[in-house]
Subunit: 293 residues, 2 copies
């Protein structure tokens, strides 16, 4: 039996699944202070004899096993959570193999194994909602360098007529500062979900996102890019992004046909939690393989 | 004995080295038409009993073994070279294992094994000269997706006072279009090497390059970024880039101290050819390991 935790700044989604990854029970716990939250997480998983656990956490997180902050949540605006040893708490409670990565890496893993990127060996998953974040799978494994990707915070070419200063507390007008949900709302004075389809902001939004997808393509060259998150509920946006991406790339490198290359998520709102269950499964398999060899 | 070819649009540098990678002979051949160039390459390597060959080529190139264009040079402005089967020509002539990647990937491999990034497991090598191009090593291996990195062509946030249109024939004001040698010269009316140290263009140049390094950091999180190429002969530029990088990142993710993180190449003008010899060695070792297992 596998356990999965998609640990977000607003809620923790916890699930248990059988050996075929069929979800048996799933609950959502509000993210309050760490101890209260952990107690609810423990109360849920204590009911099940889990063999492995997968965690996809909000970040930034420590991912270098050799470093002291491994398994911790690092500097976060979420009150009370900076330096919390999330992985350590779970390890202490459950003596099972535990997979550990970011929420968006887990979602990318979910999308490639069970979602829109199924059958591929590499993908990027980008979520565009309250923030913008990306996860990467290369050669069927979660991709991380000395730190995990933070692909929402790159700078892009601004439209000369766009004078909005941006919402990012670190970089002001990075991609997240210009194109996440709060920026859309602040700029137009209208909440994203209420913005009319013909509002000019959608073209700007598509251009900014397409620039980022072009950058990811030029650096990582994945087989497919999967888009998810609240802002992608705007159905007309995908086509605009595809068009702008094609124009911006100007045929420079060969990419798959754009309708197959830039696609919508296949597991809406579930990529993350399914990804954590898959991570749990992989962690258990890896452990078995290590003990065999 | 190993052979290495750094195949550039201006010249092919060919070298042979002994089993310890000590260079025995190295020549430079002008890149003219393919047949003339190949004849000179063959004349050089025919003299030596090479056991393996490494090629780092100007791009774009085909890197997917399953595709027909594998080993070919793809659409290139270099006259006569589009669709030339560079790898195939060498394979036909020399029945030895051959490693195949881009010139900048080879240089990244050279820098991590023998140059400024020695001892690391991951690095980015960025060359800033006539063009801007990058190579990537992750987990000690050359990194490629379905295509190789083309990291010089991403868009960056333009300085509002910079109205230069850019030199890139595909994207106009992408990084290469704004910050490679030709852009520097066209913008200032002075050749890069003659530009005074206090010319304001250097701050702009540092800002644009620092933005790109920030993007690479957020996407790939390498252990170190190595800068090379003609423009980096400007000694004062490195410090400006380091300063701007630190300011732009604004402490957002943890990176190594900037003086150790953004550094100058350790094998000036030789990273590429040494990288191809190392690729040859690796190809031979991989082949031996495959036949053992």
């Amino acid at each position: 039996m596998y356990g999965g935790i998609e640990a977000g700044g607003t809620k923790f989604i916890c699930a248990v699944a059988d050996e075929k990854l069929r979800i048996i029970e799933k609950i959502s716990i509000a993210t309050t202070d760490p101890q209260t939250t952990f107690n609810q997480v423990f109360a849920f998983f204590d009911q099940y004899p889990i063999d492995a656990l997968g965690i996809g956490s909000f970040g930034p997180i420590g991912i270098q096993p050799s470093q002291e902050n491994y398994g911790h949540i690092l500097a976060t605006p979420k009150e009370g959570w900076t330096n919390v040893d999330l992985l350590g708490q779970l390890k202490q409670r459950y003596k099972v193999p535990i997979g550990w990565t970011t929420d968006v890496n887990a979602a990318a893993f979910g999308e490639i194994k069970r979602g829109a990127a199924q059958g591929k060996r590499s993908c990027i998953y980008l979520t565009i909602g309250t923030g913008i974040g990306g996860g990467v799978v290369m050669d069927e494994a979660v991709f991380q360098g000395i730190s995990h990707p933070e692909m929402g915070h790159l700078f892009i070419k601004r439209d000369p007529e766009d004078t909005y200063q941006g919402t990012c507390p670190y970089h002001k007008d990075c991609l997240e500062g210009l194109a996440a949900g709060p920026a859309l709302a602040a700029r137009s004075g209208i909440k994203g979900e209420d913005l009319p389809l013909d509002h000019p902001i959608w073209d700007l939004q598509a251009n900014y996102l397409a620039q980022a997808l072009m950058t990811y393509t030029l650096v990582l060259a994945p087989e497919v890019i999967v888009l998810g998150g609240g802002v992608m509920n705007q159905n007309h946006l995908l086509k605009k992004i595809q068009q702008q991406f094609t124009e911006l790339m100007a045929g420079y490198t060969e990419t798959p046909p754009v309708e197959e290359y830039i696609i919508r998520w296949g597991l809406p709102n579930e990529s993350g939690v399914i990804g954590t269950l898959l991570l749990a499964q992989k962690e258990l398999e890896d452990k078995k393989n290590r003990s065999l060899s």
